[in-house]
Amino acid sequence: MNSVLKIIAQRLALGLLTLFIVSIVIFAAVNLLPGDFAQAILGQGATPEAVEAIRTDLGLDQHPVKRYMQWLGGALQGDLGNSFAQANFASFVGDDSGVRTSVAQQIAPRFANTMFLAGVTAAIAVPFAVTLGILAALYRNSVFDRATNILTLSSISSPEFFLAYVLILFLAVLNPWLPSLSNIYDGMAFSERLEKTLLPALTLTLVVTAHMMRMTRAAIINLLASPYIEMARLKGINPMRVIVRHALPNALAPIINVIALNLAYLITGVVVVEVVFVYPGIGQLFVDSVKIRDIPVVQACCLIFAAAYILLNLTADILSIVSNPRLRHPK
């Protein structure tokens, strides 16, 4: 188990390094985009003076390297800075109240919503996909297996917004069971929140099921030729038990890895679904911030996305190790 702790420590250190590099790349990339926040927010009515005033206010007139170092200094102390878009500009409104909404304050509720959506989706999709995968492996090459493959592959191949509208049509319009808008706000009861989240969660389930189901099926079938599976069959064990008890525990590592990748996708890549259902997640905020070059928010979002990938992959690796009895029970 000490080796596991060592791996965790190493991977976390590497993860921090990755985050650092991500922050440089994102900062540079946003700076490479044409225009900056001042131009974006002022739009067509921008006068050179107004642009200049906002730039001075936000420090955008300083050299990018200096700005990055200032941001990094703050970030290392836990201060992710203030969102440009939430600032009141003295030069703009006439008086600066001094009150600034920090990036953290702005992102926190959105991030919580995203995690809630991802959590609900995972709770539905993971058991669903793994069960489907097991059944497909059990009845491999049957009509059931083929139908499952065709359906999951069609759903992953269709655009997300299309799936979303199909679900809205059937579950909200023709049969008004679920609300088609997911306006979530603070202080909502859990059950109500769950109800409003269900439709986007189902849409996402359709998107992520195929990967996990097909990997489960493939990983299990891959093991079916092994001598210990033949042994189990020759012991007269029923086919379902052969798969669940003898094949599945040895097929966990690849399945866990695919689950982790899909969970990471649920946190970082669901902006289209958020837009369709007007779900206040982090994805929309991120896209809006890129549009107006709101660098502190973009940076924070990217760090969260990168951290999600790093932590989920780390978890997957640890679980893969732990699922191996040779490592759990050394000689």
Binding site: E230, M231, G236, P249
Partner: protein
């Protein structure tokens, strides 16, 4: 015991006119061609044959089971009045594990790595409703005790990787016994084991089969093993039955030529060469080598010499350090202490620091010709590449040299030069491996278990070839093997290794005449002989606690 002893017993398995086919690509090709098999209650039938004879396929068919891509095209299998081929898979499942059990070749691969031994043991009794979990666990421990597994009350709670190969094989026999079946199929249960371990497993299998009066089909390619285990022997060749007879009858009076040729295999023996002149320089000298993987020493102060034109057999069980010594000589594993000398001159320890002529003089032939040959290159390329690399020949000269080499290994170039490894048999592939090492024109060749993956007749051909080449080209061999029959047939000198130490070394004639070192003695006495009473006599002589791992443990 004779066949007559079972004449009155009820028939348990009756296979009639079995034809089986296997699928490769889209075609079905024959595996078993009309074999009959009758097994009475309590009888042990030995099925022997070389690889590809169809013995495992036939063994599984007697359980009504076919592997993927195999089918029974004709014939009938009756088990105690039940037609297994007509039975539904549900009916067959009720028999498998409960009344018919299976012991696989590799217990290490056939135990599920994810579960404890005892949980796998109790699975069949629980699922078939024969016993409760507690009953079956207690019974399992009792069986472990009967099979003389160490710590019978505790060993079941371990995972398969925590238990040694010989112990796993016995645990698997216990598992097969869990429901007290009427029939057990033993599919080469000791092939993967060392000789000292094998004898222990053989003794326990025989004892428990006798105690519960279980009928068994014992599949093996080793005649001496089957002679100890079976009442009746059936010989198969390429899917055809050659003959069947009671064991003693079969051993003393085989009627068919093929059977006689199998019996004759072990008679190849090359005379030992005269002792080397004292003071001559050895081709290879291993001097006080201590080597380690990581921080753990696996070789301790190993020294021996190999002289010109001589064969030194390095003998020992798995983990004794034979192959590690070879890795030290080739420079793949630089020794921690000690040196390797070639013709009296010290070699750089790391192969990367050796020059081409030093590399050229030491070549290797590998155990698995399958994996040692590049599957995408033709024979001409496989042999041609070292020819070009070491001798600089190209074009026609290279081709001529390749043809010469193929002549030496007795594979006609006109027929084989453009073949891929997948288009050749195991023995032919091993010959190509030999030609590849000869291509470098070496002085010294390390043969690492070169015959252990081959059938006996083929292996003998390879040994004869190696002996001829040695005489013609004045080669020196280091012959790594765990098979003492091979040592007897080809070695001039013998080095016995155990746990990284050289236990004993000397000329072959001395090594095979008493007195021996205790370990050498154990090794020698553990090799099964073609005498049906061998195991019985040995157990009588030594007692059950003085064979196998238990005896190894007593030697310090």
């Amino acid at each position: 015991m004779s066949n007559d002893a079972f004449k009155d017993a009820e028939t348990l398995v009756e296979m009639k006119g079995i034809w089986m086919e296997g699928r490769s690509d889209e075609d079905w090709h024959p595996i078993i061609n009309g074999v009959d098999l009758t097994l009475r209650k309590g009888e042990v039938l030995g099925l022997i044959g070389e690889s590809g004879a169809g013995k495992s396929t036939l063994g599984l068919a007697s359980m009504g089971f076919c592997r993927d891509g195999v089918r029974i095209s004709k014939g009938s299998v009756m088990f105690d009045g039940i037609d297994l081929l007509a039975a539904s898979s549900e009916e067959k499942r009720q028999l498998l594990g409960k009344r018919i059990a299976y012991v696989a070749q590799s217990a290490a691969a056939s135990f599920n790595p994810a579960h404890r031994l005892i949980d796998q043991h109790t699975e069949a009794p629980i699922q078939h409703g024969v016993m409760s979990k507690d009953e079956s666990e207690a019974d399992g421990m009792e069986l472990y005790r009967k099979l003389r597994l160490p710590n019978p009350d505790e060993i079941g709670f371990r995972y398969p990787h925590q238990v040694s190969g010989g112990q796993l094989q016995r645990a698997m026999t216990a598992m097969a016994m869990a429901c007290r079946p009427d029939l057990i199929i033993f599919d080469e249960p000791t092939t993967a084991l060392d000789v000292t371990t094998q004898i222990e497993v053989l003794a326990s299998i025989r004892e428990i089969v006798e105690e519960f009066d279980t009928a068994a089909i014992y599949i093996t390619h080793d005649l001496a093993v089957v002679a100890q285990m079976a009442d009746t022997i059936k010989v198969l060749l390429k899917g055809d039955e050659v003959e069947e007879a009671e064991t003693r009858e079969m051993l003393s009076h085989p009627t068919q030529d093929y059977t006689k040729s199998l019996w004759a295999v072990r008679e190849f023996q090359r005379p030992q060469k005269p002792a080397v002149i004292t003071g001559s320089t050895p081709v290879i000298s291993v001097k006080n080598v201590t080597a380690a993987y990581g921080k753990i020493d696996v070789l301790h102060d190993v020294s021996f010499d190999i002289h010109e034109g001589r064969t030194v057999a390095v003998v020992g069980e798995s983990g004794s350090g034979k192959s590690t010594t070879a890795r030290c000589i080739t420079g793949l594993l630089p020794p921690r202490i000690g040196s390797i000398e070639l013709d009296g001159n010290p070699l750089p320890l790391d192969y990367r620091k050796r020059d081409r002529s030093q590399l050229q003089k030491i070549q290797m032939i590998y155990q698995m010709a399958d994996t040692a040959l590049n599957p995408r290159q033709t024979v001409g390329d496989i042999i041609g590449r070292p020819v070009e690399f070491y001798t600089g020949l190209t074009g026609k000269a290279r081709r001529k040299r390749v043809e010469e080499l193929m002549d030496q290994i007795e594979l006609p170039a006109s027929q084989f030069i453009d073949r891929l490894p997948s288009e050749m048999s195991g023995g032919q592939k091993q010959r190509v491996g030999i030609a590849r090492s000869l291509a470098a024109e070496p002085e010294f060749i390390i043969c690492d278990e070169v015959t252990s993956a081959l059938d006996q007749l083929v292996a003998e051909g390879i040994l004869r070839l190696l002996a001829d080449l040695q005489d013609k080209l004045n080669l020196s061999y280091m012959f790594i093997t765990h098979d003492l029959a091979t040592v007897k047939s080809i070695a001039d000198e013998v080095v016995v290794m155990k746990d990284g130490d050289v236990i004993e070394q000397g000329p072959k004639t001395e090594m095979f005449t008493p007195p021996h070192h205790a370990y050498t003695d154990l090794l020698l006495s553990s090799v099964p002989e073609m005498d049906p009473d061998w195991l019985t006599n040995l157990l009588k002589e030594r007692g059950v606690d003085n064979i196998g791992d238990a005896a190894v443990g007593k030697i310090t």
